[in-house]
Point group: C2
């Protein structure tokens, strides 16, 4: 199955997960992209505003992208092409060993005026931990091809 | 030197870079977090809406975080603690071998009412490639301790 703009009706929900937050991957991500003590060292984490070793917030976003790319939305005809992110909030710290799940809701959509074969679809991402707590949420505009472009 | 809320005056600019977009790191990031063909395969990239193999947009954000964490802003007393991201836009694709630089501007700030020892500082991030083209921009609220909390 291939998803087009027409298939992404507001209200439709896509679910994905689980993903386990691998301790070695947390360390690897932190060393490469966010080398702060509270992402790398247990004692520094305990002394930080977080109170424990925590994953980089950008890694939580990356794990959520992994879940998006393994959800049914991976079948969008032109791939998952992000245009913009808004209201990205980190609600709870994510720790090594946490288990994440995600929901992606279609909020709204609009065909492009300048490129009639495409439209912009607004998704709401919500990522939860194994306690069901919301750890991250965001709004994401993606670029999706239309199955049957208007001819006028 | 250690930076506090008082030091982050609106208009102050912090610069960082360069960072080279390593082809092996692009592949590693894509396999782990964004396993789409146009991030992994040159021919699939050429046939995609991007017209070439491109890095995941989330990796551009991660590289920008690396530049933030190696800028003078790394000396913020409580570390770089992000609360929210808005208006994240991917303006141009980032390709393996590109060389990125970044600017971080203090846009505004506000002391917390509920936690008098802290404030929220709004940063604008702008990431550029080796041609000076803007590839990504965003607005980021961070949590910063106050040097001298008000006593009333």
């Amino acid at each position: 199955m291939t998803l087009y703009f027409e298939d992404l009706k507001p209200g439709r929900v896509f679910r994905s997960g689980p993903v386990t937050v691998d301790p070695a991957e947390v360390e690897d991500f932190a060393r490469r992209y966010d080398p702060q003590d509270f992402h790398l060292d247990a004692a520094a984490g305990a002394a930080s505003v977080f109170g424990s070793l925590v994953a980089s917030g950008w890694q939580t976003a990356a794990y959520s992208m992994r879940m998006l790319a393994s959800s049914e939305l991976r079948t969008i005809v032109n791939g998952l092409v992000g245009l913009q992110i808004d209201k990205l909030m980190w609600h709870q710290p994510v720790k090594p060993g946490d288990v994440l799940n995600a929901e992606f809701d279609v909020m709204s959509r609009k065909q492009s005026r300048s490129k009639p074969g495409f439209g912009v679809v607004q998704l709401a991402w919500r990522t939860f931990n194994q306690q069901g707590e919301l750890v991250m949420s965001l709004e994401n505009a993606i670029w999706v091809a239309v199955r049957e472009p208007a001819t006028n």
